[in-house]
Amino acid sequence: MNSGIDLQGSFIQTLQDFGLPIGLAKAVWLPLPMLLMIVGATVGVLVVVWLERKISAAAQQRIGPEYAGPLGVLQPVADGIKLVFKEDVIPAKADPWLFTMGPVLVVVPVFLSYLIVPFGQNLVVTDLNVGIFLWISLSSIAPIGLLMAGYASNNKYSLLGGLRAAAQSISYEIPLALSVLAIVMMSNSLSTVDIVAQQSGYGILGWNIWRQPVGFIIFWIAALAECERLPFDLPEAEEELVAGYQTEYAGMKFALFYLGSYVNLVLSALVFAVLYLGGWEFFIPLDRLADWIGVAETTPWLQVLTASLGIVMTLIKAYFLVFIAVLLRWTVPRVRIDQLLDLGWKFLLPVSLANLLITAALKLSFPMAFGG
């Protein structure tokens, strides 16, 4: 396995050549990937909002946003600017501190989880040992923010929505974690880079989606429920709860919820791509192709090509999944709250446990195919 491009190493080396001490050079490097990730996530949300509007329009035989920029691509920017300048209303009998902290607590963990999303061998903010486990544990903070927002609004619909949201995300976290655990068991590591490395080598045939046919469906259902996407958007079901915990929010605080839910959708799609669709891997094994043509693995232009192809592939896979999520929104009816909890506890939980056990058994009997 070649190390690919080491941006951090070469950046620090360049600064040192300019005569900076190594500590300062590292301090200059540190904020760069984080800033890049935050900007990337925000831009990703703008793209998803535009896609959602356009795909929804196509699903309903409308045109969708058209006037703001070519094909309406500036529409999400306009939405964002409008929300920034909107008056920030705090209801009279609300708890102002909790009311403000709620959206923050929902958004921050989602952005933090981008730490572990890899776009290439070295194109990841940090390659942690606990990797994917960090994502699961950070996503468990969000219910607290939802409860806080629901409680602080001093509104029946908000409280009900907040409680529903917390109940939903607690119930679906368990099948989600169990299906991730099956993948972790096959790759012998929690690190996202190792999980992708374990799927590499055979192109599309080596992806985990073939080895975990049940696991990926459970993961996708649970991830949709965690993101509160239709068919599981009960916390903000319009007919029943006005807008759930978001009812009393306006302006930038509402925008934070909105941003958080879309960032979470993109994040879930990225994690799905990493876990089941081979992350940054191309459909055919590129290193073998290069070997076959007769180009050495360490050729600079090949490394740049594979790195950029890796980023493009990760994004293509993630946005394909986002497309499926938007299509699901217009094709599947919303479930009832009792159906939702029944599905989570009585169906997904036992099935994901059985999936975990079967994966363990297969790993013991076929260590070649299931990561010995």
Binding site: N129, V130, I141, I170, E173
Partner: protein
């Protein structure tokens, strides 16, 4: 002092102030919901301290279990029990407060002497410095800490079975429930038993 050490000292300071501040808030704030939310702050700062100690898995597990499960359950309990009650002073309040203070100070003194008496510094070559904490934890769980690990899982199983029995009222025999009609100041206002039975009969038929 290099960059890493400076960052560690500054983050330790921030985490310590955050932890003590939120913990004091949990005890001192008048509204119980604020205390419950601040408790999450305490747990998150503890998890930050674990990260400073290189215990990354324990830190993530701390957030998952304490913030994601325990604290959410506490909040659920507070928000679902909507009982308006005037604040009544308990008799002998000063004695209770003094006794609590004595117990807390005793605990503090005990832990303080323990902290001062233990040699904390580890050399970088010591066997307790591990590279991958997940593997080290797993090895400990299935060798020298096997008994506590299994006992904890049995305990959790018992708690889960108990919770299921309590939640499914049809499993509790009738006679037991009827005997238990004495109401004290601590009895929760519950749904009348007749209604519950009617509901279950409707479901059965």
């Amino acid at each position: 002092m290099n960059l890493a050490e400076g960052v560690q000292i500054v983050s330790f300071g921030i985490l310590a102030v955050m932890m003590i501040g939120t913990a004091l808030g949990v005890v001192l704030l008048p509204k119980i919901v604020h205390s419950a939310f601040l408790l999450a702050g305490v747990f998150i700062s503890i998890s930050g301290l674990y990260i400073l100690l290189n215990a990354d898995f324990v830190a993530a597990a701390q957030i998952l279990v304490y913030v994601g499960a325990v604290n959410v359950l506490i909040l659920f309990a507070i928000m679902l029990v909507n009982k308006q009650e005037d604040y009544v002073e308990l008799p002998g309040r000063t004695i209770r407060k003094v006794a609590t203070g004595v117990v807390c100070f005793g605990l503090f003194a005990l832990l303080g002497t323990m902290v001062l008496a233990t040699p904390w510094s580890l050399s970088t070559t010591s066997p307790s410095v591990v590279d991958n904490t997940v593997i080290a934890l797993g090895e400990h769980f299935f060798s020298d800490y096997l008994l506590p690990f299994e006992l904890a899982s049995v305990l959790l199983l018992m708690a889960m079975v108990g919770a299921i029995i309590l939640a499914r009222r049809d499993l509790i025999p009738e006679s037991m429930a009827d005997e238990n009609t004495v109401t004290t100041g601590l009895t929760l206002p519950e749904r009348p038993r007749e209604l519950a039975r009617l509901g279950s009969e409707e479901q059965d038929s």
